[in-house]
Symmetry: D2
Subunit: 268 residues, 4 copies
Amino acid sequence: MSDEREAQAGPSPEPSDPLSGDPLRVGVLGARGRMGIEVCRAVDAAEGLELVAMIDQGDWLFNASDAGAEVVVDFTTPDVVMDNLHWCIDQGISVVVGTSGFTEQRLDRVRTWLSHKPGVGVVIAPNFGIGAVLMMQFAARAARFFESVEIIEQHHPKKLDAPSGTATHTARLIAQARAEAGQGAAPDATRDEVPGARGAEIDGVRVHAVRAAGLVAHQEVLFGTTGETLTIRHDSYDRTSFMPGVLLAVRSVRNRPGLTVGIDDFLA
Amino acid sequence: MSDEREAQAGPSPEPSDPLSGDPLRVGVLGARGRMGIEVCRAVDAAEGLELVAMIDQGDWLFNASDAGAEVVVDFTTPDVVMDNLHWCIDQGISVVVGTSGFTEQRLDRVRTWLSHKPGVGVVIAPNFGIGAVLMMQFAARAARFFESVEIIEQHHPKKLDAPSGTATHTARLIAQARAEAGQGAAPDATRDEVPGARGAEIDGVRVHAVRAAGLVAHQEVLFGTTGETLTIRHDSYDRTSFMPGVLLAVRSVRNRPGLTVGIDDFLA
Amino acid sequence: MSDEREAQAGPSPEPSDPLSGDPLRVGVLGARGRMGIEVCRAVDAAEGLELVAMIDQGDWLFNASDAGAEVVVDFTTPDVVMDNLHWCIDQGISVVVGTSGFTEQRLDRVRTWLSHKPGVGVVIAPNFGIGAVLMMQFAARAARFFESVEIIEQHHPKKLDAPSGTATHTARLIAQARAEAGQGAAPDATRDEVPGARGAEIDGVRVHAVRAAGLVAHQEVLFGTTGETLTIRHDSYDRTSFMPGVLLAVRSVRNRPGLTVGIDDFLA
Amino acid sequence: MSDEREAQAGPSPEPSDPLSGDPLRVGVLGARGRMGIEVCRAVDAAEGLELVAMIDQGDWLFNASDAGAEVVVDFTTPDVVMDNLHWCIDQGISVVVGTSGFTEQRLDRVRTWLSHKPGVGVVIAPNFGIGAVLMMQFAARAARFFESVEIIEQHHPKKLDAPSGTATHTARLIAQARAEAGQGAAPDATRDEVPGARGAEIDGVRVHAVRAAGLVAHQEVLFGTTGETLTIRHDSYDRTSFMPGVLLAVRSVRNRPGLTVGIDDFLA
């Protein structure tokens, strides 16, 4: 099996041409986990990709290289992901990582490993939802043109935190963009407030968290200025919503050597 | 002029038939005020209605009876509205009142006056917005079928109170309907909340107040249960939104002798 | 086993008191089908209900009576549902039916069977979604108060018909309510239209059908009049959304002897 | 008066520093027109701007230069706007133009005039709504990442064309972005369609036009892919919504010599 991989990788150090007809060979680590199962399905169904290795706890990582994987997707756990990354980079395999728990220190370690393998790319992303990432990008772009902005996020009632991490992150991006543009506080004449009515304040941006049975994960960013409003809304219905983002990263990672954090750059 | 009115009212004690071709004769008190101007315009443009008297501070009320007004609309001020009502009821003229400041005591006084004039109708409404009233009716109806419900109201940033009076009133109607149906608290696992994120609590119903430039007056009531949500949303763009409700009351008041509070009954 | 049922049903011909503490005994026909599985889960998890029989192809219907089922839920197929119904009515068991394929003729046959069993109730409903049914009721109620109304339904792109059956049905209810109220055509000055832009016309009501990946099943009914709009929106995320309606029917069917078509009456 | 202007422009050929404290001197052509009145109000109320000339039919253009106008805003008519532009450019005054009727030929003529005045800037925009322009930019950006996209525009019922010009333009931008990204047709299994249900097709993008009393001008662009949707919505409530865009152009035009079509570049 390794012959095949070498035959492919040997003469052509370039990333495989998407138009060449040769599918990109993909392995999945954590293949029997909740997310891993979805990734396997998505890779299997995707045009131009071939699922060559499904690896989980107890399996050998060498299965991936033996099968000629050019890109590996890792949805495992914080305690094994660093070993996986080290091994893949060492093997010259690019990696797309959805596993959580990356500190600045861990990212630095990955950068060091990559510095010795100039052709290898690694993407580590906390959120592969294309819609969520675009929502945040657009919100940051619109922020400086509107006097007012508020965030309304809506989730199922089993959620423990309010507001959501995405809403908090969006508020921070908006606050930063407003500060850079010299925008002051949004106008608000409220004098008589039932406590909590005006929401939470995150870096000066009001955030409202709605919880109701039937909801999944939704967020609305409302911008307003004289006579008009602009609303950016994201609705996520299930975890398959991450798959288009994972596939985008799989297809792009070999064209982007070194470490990339987040999928923002692939959406530019 | 009064002959004409009597000629009309005399032989036919029934409310004027909308199909008869005779327009209903309408007078407006407070005709030069912000709302009065709109009422005059709306009556003037409405089919089947004739604007026969526009009366404001300094004008004689008798202008209304002289012009044969069958219905009078009052958008004046709390200090003169009781005198206006007394005079109209005495003259046998039905009245549609949008003026504020009605206490239970004042309503009782109007009821006493009306008890001596069995054919006269008076409608006193805090809100003539048909959409807003239907929103509240529907919300109260839906309340007992859904585990979860939250209110999001959105207004221009010059508003002083949060949440709005309409939102507070809606929350109370919902809470009452839930209590009658034996519904407990809505599910909510929130454990880690930035203060205010989950909104204000009005009788156990969460209410979120959004304020942004560009907005006018909007409210959304979101109901949720397993796998589905139902949303009732009302958008009010300007004060002309009250006119269809005023016209509905004008057309209906003579068919409903005695005192009617709110336009709910005309929307049943 | 049948003793238990008789002991329960014998001395007390009244429907079981929800406050009595005795759970209502429920059997499910078609228990291994897509919908049947969800019904079993929902009944099992519901307070005051006990799942006593799960029956599918090849099982004996007598299992239901032997287990003392007081209500049976039928999500089977058009070719067996009539036999199931006949048997249940004969046994004095009330039935909630979600199976499709009921013609006026079939309904009449069920009515005849029920005429000999005055204590038995049968509910046959094409749609158990509480939200969808309330949306239609509210739309019919609001229809006569607004000049304008349009329907926007949004579904996944695998749907074969456009507009959806629910949208068509809603349009007909609205058209009927407008006709009864003497409402003419909605205002529309369009003179220059790219074909299709203004949607389909169902009994004079404009209906727009949106199809997009990621969507599930959504519908919005937009009413407008001077200065304001009222929107009723229903979002259905998965087939579990029918379960609250099925449970409502299960709990209510024994209080409503004879045939009931649709769950509208339980939502009044 | 012209001394003052020269005194100001003379020593400092740079655009006036917004932090310098000297307000930017602005003249308005078409000052008594519907839009002109709003522009005068907006300039007058804006920080850092000074309204120095209000000119309409019958007034001398020299009033603008005499008053030391550094920027002129033109909301006049197609038959006079070219003369106004020629004169302003000749005087070295930068211009922000909202007047309609600009053909490619007219734009070329303006470019020629500007080629002789390297320091002067002219902005000609068909739409000064910041929200509308951002909506189109975001839609074009998102287009290549989603399988599905549809546009729903909603307007008052007096509108003559369907879909709106903005919706048509948005559809074209989206179609172009999809083509560049190699996106094929959006998935759509519709087999049984009531004519018009699926909307109009503009360059392969489905567009739905809703018309209802109460609405003003609204547009929603809905993107969908596996498990998620992204919606960009713009609501315009009245013509004051153009003012923030006009002010942005007034503040930026002198930093951008030559001809700029649309305000897109100021929103980058």
